[in-house]
């Protein structure tokens, strides 16, 4: 999986890592019970300091997505994938609503936006 983090992006690096892991869970690339990289491995893959990687795991643990087992590592909880899908869907839907509002304000016809959405969805299922 690609752990690429950009400090210049809108979200701080720890939240970018959270989003990457939630996406991978939501897409089924990581399953419940799977072991995630250690804090140190995660930091080395994302090229961020250890505290940033640890903060990402703390946030995911608070959301109930992962659990740290003492000395053994970080594991995805049974409910992890379901929670991840919920969180990412809520977040992306909010973002979609915001962008859709902006598109309408800038003069796009609702019909054109719906057509674009069907086209993207067809391309994805093709």
């Amino acid at each position: 999986m690609n752990w690429n983090v950009d400090p210049g992006a809108d979200k701080p690096p720890s939240q970018q890592i959270v989003a990457l892991i939630l996406d991978a869970l939501a897409r089924g690339e990581i399953e419940s019970g799977a072991q995630l990289p250690s804090v140190r491995q995660l930091a080395a893959q994302a090229l961020v300091n250890h505290n940033t990687a640890a903060r990402a795991y703390r946030d995911l643990e608070q959301a109930g997505v992962v659990r740290g087992k003492n000395g053994l590592g970080v594991f995805v909880t049974d409910a992890g994938p379901k929670i991840a899908r919920g969180l990412r869907r809520d977040e992306t839907l909010r973002e979609f609503a915001r962008i859709a509002g902006e598109a309408l304000r800038s003069g796009h016809e609702p019909r054109a936006l719906v057509a674009l959405l069907s086209k993207i969805s067809e391309r994805k299922s093709a």
Partner: protein
Amino acid sequence: MNPVLQVQGVSKLFGDRAILCGLDLELPADSTTVLLGANGTGKTTLMKLVLGLERPDSGTIRVAGLDPMRDASAVRARVGFVPDRPDVYSWMTPRELFAFLRPQYPRWNRTIESRLVERLSIPLRTSFATLSRGEAAKTMLVAALAPQPDLYLLDEAFSGLDPLVRDDVLAAFLAEIDLSGRAALIVTHELDLAARLGDRIAILANGRIAACKSIEELCGVDEGGGGGGDQPRRLKQALSDVLEGSAA
């Protein structure tokens, strides 16, 4: 817990020119502090003072409670230092350098040494005179990580490397650095790197630490965890705010 590095009221003059004047800086355990500042503001001088290679004109410095002037060899054994340019005899090979350094560091870890040599493909039998800039930088990094020091001091350790090599070196550094009970001070002028590596950002201007804040504070993370993005640009803004403020 005592800070790993404590610098209090340190001044340093070269001739009648004050490079540092009353500088205070503390590095708590488990932290990485990035030191930013314009060229010639004394960042390298500060590192030399911490290593006991220069004597402060006033003020005190303690590394894990030790005075770098009085306990020079004990302090050097606790500090892993990457200079901005390798300070190694040009005839030496990485293998000879490691053999020379090992006895000086009681906690030198040969497993870390060989893991890094392999990971970074360091040519052990090539002299520094013929090593590339990247290979020399990698070798110096091994010499700072293998001793498992209390304090890591990195002076532009990742600069001048091509982007792919830089990412490899950075990944190796992050995979091997151990910050539990320890601290790192990293000098860089690359703001992307500062945002990646620093928990805390210190800005040196006019011989003092003009600001020292957590990256969240500097980059405006709000209470709910929102904001806090666009970090290199925010660091640049903070840097120019401090420099303008200190010039006024």
